[in-house]
């Protein structure tokens, strides 16, 4: 499209509404994403805790076995 037409189009009311709509949605999507990431981060920490507790438990049990073996 001719640059001149494009420029005129982008300075019009209709394009203004398009940009407003876009901006509004982008902001809301970003907010949802930030919220999502926060919640997922909490779950990741919970998962890591479950795994590390299991590791600690199994290590302790192994030590016990070794002690008994001695």
């Amino acid at each position: 499209m001719d640059e001149e037409i494009k420029k005129k189009l982008e300075s019009g009311l209709l394009y203004g509404f398009f940009e407003l709509e876009n901006k509004d949605k982008i902001n809301k999507i970003n907010v949802i994403k930030i919220d999502y990431q926060k919640q997922i981060e909490v779950l990741k920490q919970e998962r890591d805790k479950v795994i590390s507790e299991s590791v600690a438990f199994l290590e302790e049990r192994k030590m016990e076995e070794i002690r008994k073996g001695l």
Partner: protein, 431 residues
Amino acid sequence: MEKMEEKIDILDTNVSIEKSKDSKIENLEVSKENSEILAKKNVEEMEKDAKELDLTKSESMLNDETDSIGHEPEIQEEVFKSDGVIEKLKSISERASKILDDAKSGIKKVLAGGMAVMAFSEAGNIREIKAEGMDNKQSTIESIEKNQKQRYVEEIEKIRNIAINEPNEYSFIFAKKSGEYIFPKGQEGNNFSNSFSVKEIRKYIGNEECSIELIHTHPAKLINPSDENIVEKIRKGEMENNLMPPSITDISNIIDKKNIFGDNFSKITSKVVEPSGIWEYSLNFENSQFDEIVNEFQDEFTTERVIKESNLTKEENSTLNKVSEYINFENMNSSVRFFMLIGLLEQTHIDICETISEKLASTILKKEEKLKEKYPEAYSDFKEIIDNERRITEFKSEGSKELIRKNMELYKKNGIILKHTPFEKIDKKTN
């Protein structure tokens, strides 16, 4: 073109359109960052994040960590079972899936709940469709025995909490009959931006003694979308008041309602609830042409009208129809439709598509020019209001506050009356 394989439906398929070998279309992605593209990108990233918490992945991490300890696999499994480790990981995986589904559904709602600014014939249909799918709880009304003012403040406080906590806009209808407020029972609001169904409004204002308040929220999280602690700051009173007044879309919507409800429009009060207070906005166009330009703008820019007036040849029409099939236009307003379409047409680099896009663009420009000539002052103000609103990035910045102030002056000049009551004042009045 017939062999194009994918329709653009952001959350279900890829945005890019695969081309047939003999087509010149390389990639029909819309170049500028827009909400549809961003939604797709974010959903992909979120799915990747949720996959990290998938049960198989977590089990594999667990095994990687525990295998080296040297237990027999049977003992390891028995420990996991007796400690409920796998159950815990399964629960985490399921919660991650649920959070992902909620976020995806939130994004879908954002994409669908567009600002219904364009011709009512289009926006109205969408609103009616949404209304059908709405929770029916709003249809039962409950008389209030408690002190009216107190109950009203309590209801507003609930909505304020929604404005503080929820990323999407929610809408509510309060009715007043013979001096007594009635609130929809079990009111949860609907989270489509300012989208009250005409049918729903008529149900109330058809009654002679009944007036209504149409209330929607402006979410606190939009004060600064990148600040994840914004809600905490507001709760702790660590945020100064950041005014979030009605937008030009909100104003266009009530102008729309004025046209639809005629004399009964006087029974409707429009309000925005945001964390700092309540905005009431009303219209008085005695010395202004603002309603005329908004109405004409809405009438002139319907998809059908612009396409019809672009005098496309039969071949161009058929090409346009084919290209249109590859975007899910269903919930887009006219402005988004046109610029998505023009973007797509341009990027094909096919002569006929470029001709169509230029014809559409030139029709839009002619219409804009006509509006500018007919309503020079109102056009200039309308445009300045839109441009100022586009420049508001964060409600809390000094620059944005200045733009809000300018817009309020322009609204006043054009017969749009805005009144802001801070929550402290509402609290004092009731106590």
